[in-house]
Symmetry: C2
Subunit: 224 residues, 2 copies
Amino acid sequence: METTTTQQEQGDPRRSPDQRRSADRRRRELLEAADRVVLRDGPQASMNAIAAEAGITKPILYRHFGDKSGLYRALAERHTDGLLAALRTAIDASSDRRERVEHTLDTYLAAIETRPQVYRFLMHPAEDSHHSEQGFDVGRHTAPLLRRLGEELGTVIAERVDLGPGGDELARIWAHGIVGMMHGAGDWWLSERPCSRQQLVRSLADLLWGRLSVAEDRPGSPRF
Amino acid sequence: METTTTQQEQGDPRRSPDQRRSADRRRRELLEAADRVVLRDGPQASMNAIAAEAGITKPILYRHFGDKSGLYRALAERHTDGLLAALRTAIDASSDRRERVEHTLDTYLAAIETRPQVYRFLMHPAEDSHHSEQGFDVGRHTAPLLRRLGEELGTVIAERVDLGPGGDELARIWAHGIVGMMHGAGDWWLSERPCSRQQLVRSLADLLWGRLSVAEDRPGSPRF
DNA sequence: GTACACATGTTACTACCGGTAACCGCAGTC
DNA sequence: GACTGCGGTTACCGGTAGTAACATGTGTAC
């Protein structure tokens, strides 16, 4: 067999006490191998490839993760947790609201800029092949990352900003809208790079600050 | 067990006189069959299923559309054109800017509300299985529909709103941000239905009108 | 020591997918 | 007739997710 794995198995013959830990360790090793493959081959990496990278064969992967979407979910959770943590600290770093917004936007954009493969993987989740029986579940389109982001941001807004009666609902709406804006603009920016990151952050913050509503009409604006 | 046992054996004597059916007609028929299947089975409908629905077999589909992504592109173009046309008229319907924004948002949301399958298909494009040789093209994540929407809205904003020097770039940034906001919030709303469409439209317009920036801090807001 | 249970791993398979080669039969036209 | 183009098919290829069955080591009970 091929000795492709980077870290050699520690050759540890005594495993009587820590069998449970061994399973956890193994699982983490498999996840790391999967990570390497997914980041190299894209989200449609095959289970065979992942198994080969881990130095084992498919059925073991299935024993650990159930199916492909299970593996991908586990993989996505790790990265999502990381990004969420970064965003939480960003949201708490400043006291001025505008600064907070800009800082958060910048953190997100920096993340997707420095590791676009991770980003792409998180946005194109499992795409679970076996359609769930009854025709077409409308829900569950967006990547779970965006949902979680939206919900977290919603609670943050709701508990920090006074929006009057019905403010919680409004906060959630805004949160999902803001996350969508961040995602959409970030995705476009990442692929076209039309400006600097700072420029993008400022422009989006300006948009959220209502500059669109106060700008003047263009003199010869077509009304066709 | 599925192959060849389906109903495609219709003797079909009604084809002798009028073979005037040009390739275009055939193509449109195939597209309509594909539409039916995709709207029934979701975006991962198989070519076999589409061919069966059209009463023919796979190779004919491939002769007409090249490959699966070709078929899906043709399919997506139809729907995209329809939605874009609706949005264009919505954007021109009112003179007041706020009304225009609300009207446009509402048109988009109404579209995805009344035909969520179409919407889902447009947002999860081909996902072309054969990864394009060189590792991992970072660009081309988002559905083409969103890109087109963003670009069109960008030109509309640029030509109607006076944003000063560098306004065109700013308009494009805002446009992609707004489209992302619309998409993200719409997707979340569609799957959770936390409020009425009108409520969502108003809230998003409020967000764009800068209400977030002028709201008061909550008294006991945690600063942890 | 032997027997059992269990975790870890393998090979070899099914069922299906996108895509293609090769062939078949029927129009029309010299 | 023969020859060509076209709409159609069957039968295949390579690759995918997922599984069954079998092979091992390893710790524990008797």
